[in-house]
Symmetry: C2
């Protein structure tokens, strides 16, 4: 079963030389911002695959940012049916909802070995007061998450099983690619079919049959408990989804 880890262990990468800055995807920081961030970040947290970072109902004193690896967040009904909500990857914020509103209302778990930056939520107010630009970035990220969830909702509510699957894999592939997770051009998405099922709102059996159809079209290949996305353009076309460009993504 899932383990739980909580305590920052070790300082690791300083913000100044954060590897995410190299991706042209992100905006640049001022010196002041960098100084503040360096102090705001209180450590790094490394988690094994399968470890629960934050649990539904918990109240954590920290918020996090993904530095390396894949995570996913999900919540469940009382009868145990689970719904995956999203997959935070490099550069994404984790725990903002709980940081602002109160308890966690979903669970966040490591999908691969993961490295997170840890921040104290008690200093969020200070961040807002001293660095409006950073505050703006946080809000930007929240708005983008909202947009992604809109998209997921449309997909689950109105697309057929195959299109839904195509959308999901295209989405994940694009997202991974944008943060530098493609190796020689293709993205390997580290999800089990069971997890895909719980993301699409389908049963595992039906998901399996559905994914086979995408594999037959050479859009994906299943390998090593995960999915090689062979042709994300093809998936996008097939699902009827396309990626909307966004004005300058911030970074935090």
């Amino acid at each position: 079963m899932a383990k739980t880890a909580r305590v920052p262990n070790g300082l690791g990468v300083p913000c100044r030389s954060c590897p995410l800055h190299e991706l042209e995807h992100f905006r640049c920081f001022s010196e002041d911002e960098l100084d503040f961030m360096s102090g705001f970040k209180i450590g790094e947290l490394r988690l094994d695959r399968g470890t629960v970072l934050l649990e539904e109902g918990a109240r954590s004193p920290h918020i996090f940012t993904v530095l390396e690896g894949w995570t996913f967040r999900h919540k469940s009904l009382e009868d145990g049916k689970r719904q995956v909500l999203n997959y935070p990857v490099r550069g994404d914020l984790i725990g903002l909802q709980a940081g602002l509103i109160g308890d966690m209302q979903h669970t966040v778990e490591a999908l691969t070995p993961v490295v997170l930056c840890v921040f104290e939520k008690s200093r969020l107010r200070e961040l807002f007061e001293r660095f409006p630009t950073l505050a703006f970035d946080i809000t930007w990220l929240a708005a983008r998450e909202e947009r992604i969830l809109d998209e997921h909702l449309l997909s689950i509510g109105r697309r057929s099983a195959v299109q839904r699957a195509a959308y999901l894999l295209a989405f994940l592939s694009r997202r991974a690619r944008a943060v530098g997770l493609a190796s020689n051009g293709t993205v390997h998405v580290p999800v089990t079919q069971h997890l895909v099922a719980d993301t699409l709102g389908l049963s595992t059996v039906h998901t399996n049959k559905t994914l086979k159809k995408l594999a037959e079209r050479k859009l994906i290949r299943w390998r090593d408990s995960g999915c090689d996305v062979l042709d994300d353009e093809g998936l996008m076309e097939f699902s009827g989804w396309f990626e909307h460009p966004t004005d300058g993504r911030p970074f935090i």
Copy 2:
């Protein structure tokens, strides 16, 4: 078909005497904040039922806040299938996503006659710089929207049709009640069954049969192209959903 309206018309209620302040639901403003808000608000917009406020693909110079009435936001697939995402009501922000990120990626429409407060998105930066507390409130609202979408996603993905319907109506009733829209104890939700269907990801026919089951249990009553929620506690129990308390809701 839906009309489109765009221009603020008339100044209406001053922020100082905003009726929303009376609901103990919202946090209080300082004098400074009130001053700023009074200037930030550039007018009011009244829309008839069915009018489109913001359209998918548009780029508006404004963001809005609902002062009176019901709205809904939705997006569609190319083949015309529509998914309703949420129902902004009194006190909710509209257009933040587009305000921060770029184009609108969903459409917002008036469900009843509506009064909106209009703000200039170009002054958002200034708000963040001068009033960190207000910036914080905006982020709070974004995080709460995220949380609501999480809940919707779980519902659509994992609940049965009846439970989904029960959840939706309980949710809307609670929400309406919280902002003072209950008349002698019960809430009238002004949605057609077609709209409910597009929110639940079901067909209209099946939605009709599903709602009948809830009506048979005396949980709701259909009347005047809308739904009287007779027993939201009952709906909540039936759907397995419960309302999570939130720490101090801000206001904007």
